[in-house]
């Protein structure tokens, strides 16, 4: 399988497992781990875990919110000056998780270079 796809799936699975006993930053740990285990190249280093967590968080949040008609989501979207727009709120949720993971993955990638002889 394409390494990008493999990393994408692994990031989501590991992030999910870690989330059972860790707070939100588990996504950062997950992408460091996948970066070490399934190293990627160039922009993919950042964007694959970014997309993985973005998609994961957006879908997860969407399921939680839609079970309750987004009553709270609308209020939070107002609180954060998003004019009550829950799609913007979902996007920001995804971006927050995605950026944190992407940056952590860059660090993971750099760490993985330690093992290689230069």
């Amino acid at each position: 399988m394409n390494k990008n796809i493999l990393n994408f799936i692994a990031t989501i699975i590991i992030a999910y497992i870690l989330s059972l006993f860790m707070d939100w930053y588990s996504v950062m740990v997950a992408s460091i781990l996948t970066a070490l285990l399934i190293p990627l190249k160039r922009v993919a280093v950042f964007f694959v875990p970014f997309l993985a967590i973005f998609v994961f968080w957006v879908i997860y949040s969407f399921i939680l919110g839609s079970n309750n008609d987004f009553i709270l989501g609308k209020r939070i979207a107002e609180l954060l000056d998003l004019q009550g727009n829950i799609y913007l709120l979902l996007t920001i949720t995804g971006l927050v998780g995605g950026i944190a993971s992407g940056i952590a993955a860059i660090f993971g990638k750099q760490l993985s270079t330690l093992n290689k002889k230069t």
Partner: protein
Amino acid sequence: MKYLKILISLALTIGIFYALNTKFGSIPPIGKFLNPYSGVWQNETDESLSGEVLIKGLKDEVTVHYDKQIIPHAFAQNEEDLYLTQGYLTAKHRLWQMDFQTYAAAGRLSEILGEKALNYDRQERRRGMGYGADQAVKVMKENPETFKLVQAYANGVNAYIDQLTPESYPVEYKLLDYKPEPWSVDKTALLLMYMTKMLAGADSDMQYTNALRLFGKERFDMLFPDFFDITDPVIPKETDWSFIDVPQTPFPANQQIALDTIREVIDQPNPDNGSNNWAISKEKSATGNTILANDPHLGLNLPSIWFVMQLSTPNHKAFGATIPGALGIISGFNEHIAWGETNATRDVIDWYKIEFNEDRSKYKFDGEWKDVRIRVEHIKIKGKESYKDTVLYTHHGPVVYYKNFKSDMELAGYAMKWVGHMGGNNQRTFIDLNKAKNYDQYTEALQYWNAPAQNFVFASVEGDIALWIQGKLPNKWEGQGKFVMDGSVSENDWQGFIPQKYNAHSKNPERGFVSSANQHPVDENYPYFVFNDRYETYRNRVINNYFNSKEKISVEDFKALHNNNYNLKAAELMPHMLDNLDTSKLNEAEKEVYNQAKSWQFNNDINEVGPSIWREWWKAVYNLTWDEFDMEDSVMKSPFAYQTIHMLKNNGDNEFMDIVDTPEKETSKDLFQLSFSEAVTSLNNWKNENGDYNWYNYKATYAGHLLQALPAFSVFDIPIGGDRNIVNATSENHGPSWRMIVEMTSPPTALGIYPGGQSGNPGSKYYDNFIDEWAEGSYHELNFLQSNKATDKIIGSQILKPISNE
């Protein structure tokens, strides 16, 4: 190079973690806050209303039935389990609110909100809120029966807190980034102090002292008479007081008032805090059953101040409004009786000027030096070092003001004497009232009530109605405590309290009804000293006129009266002002408003413009009248509306009518003309910015979230009429916070509603679902369950089970 890259990427990783995990100003830690596992998305939940829950500390199983308003009906086997359940259920629906209110009461907001709350916290601690709560806990401990139940309530709250995990914390904790702390008896005591402050925490002694110094006694007495020329007191005028046959507190030989210049005072509770209650006799009732109503006027907050429940054991069933944090039903009914409260304002705060020795370790009293006691207040501040505030205590109470707080006096200060500092077994009153079966048991329950003094209305299935004004009330010499007193003379101390049996009351009066609306408790004939402690003078007259004018009264009449928008205050002044306007001097814009004002029938309905015109005109004429009270170096209180209107109508050339800043000598007629122009200008300015000034738009009633009306969690533009001084006392953010009508059939049938919802979760559809019906004047039928069996009104049932001991 390799290591540099690692370091840079590590720094970035730590940076992003820090940025997303930290609260910046009012922005919550955004990663913590938005992530779907533990952030706010987890609060998108419906209420859990079924199933079984294991609860530590329960002795027997408890059944909780929820009806469609999600009012819980709890059936416990004994009282300890019942109050444990009340604590548990209240926490389940209102944890953040009850917790937060005790932080506010104790002066601990800096712990949550940071340094910006420090001045507030210092003020509350200097007011002696924590000290008062400590005294209350002491008294509770002397009453093991009460203490046991208050402890059970705390155990219930903690049973709920123990079930929580960070993802299930109420959303406000996530927003402010802190976590719930365990409940305790002290927290219930603090909550009761919070209510005492809200309802018996106001006084005007310092403002009156300034006014006396500036205007002299004669003018002061004219501006602030002890009684107005009309009084329609809570306890009817015709009451015979001859049973009070004890001597009164003698007037002191040399009372001295400290005629100081006082620049500022601590925050006062909202002066609109008040209420209506009434009950009618069997004879006056259309159905032959006594009927009772109550509507407490408090801030319109979300989560609402009230939480409605049914609390039952095999020996009693009580139903009505509870206050999260306190035990029992506060305004409600059981199978035999119904009760409700309005605030019985009385001057229970006095101020004493203290003279210290050179190092403030002693103060002068009766020619000797007494030791000052010290209470050190450690105020924790989020993200900062704690602040240590030393508060000096005298036998009067805490020295709130001296050079380190709102004063520049080095070796003197003002000590506060407050009934709120004296402790009491107040909780016992409600525990007993919830079980009381008749008038005698009601009066027995009341004797424990110290503060805040309340007008307790009563009706029973047996057919009695009554109203007791209950509280621990100082027995003052004539005039005592209107002004700041010399604290070094024992004659100025409170000499005792009015014996409880002599508190004013009325049982089955001939007129066929009892009522109270924060007006004067009694008239001049009551033997004990009572002066005008901010008494209301309008709602009571509308209510009493309504009852006097009708032979028979029904529940429908009660509803109509709750929703009555008649503005008696405007009706007593506006026609007079309109008649005295020189219409030839009006410009076009003024003429238009004049005609609108002329056609108004004094009802504050939402589609009227009259109420908005009145509001602006009254404000303008009031401010012009009392321009003498606008002082830079003295904190002032201008006279009450009733006396102002009386003077404007009957004493129009009084020296106070003159506007100090103009060379002319104005009379009230000039003020009417000037203030009308001012009012029209501000109305038209308002119109240009906001559109039509009908009462709905102009008043714009809202229910604000407890965090300074955080817009996202608040409800705005609620379509409801009324205003302060109107029976439907709904102003911008204040009004009937619970409306209840109980007809004493057997069992009683009751209606109730409040502007909020049972859930404290802004993500619940039950958070604000009562507001629309409340605004239109509707009520919910309260389903008073007579047994543990669910009826067709029940949408979910939950069993609370004890955790068996292995």
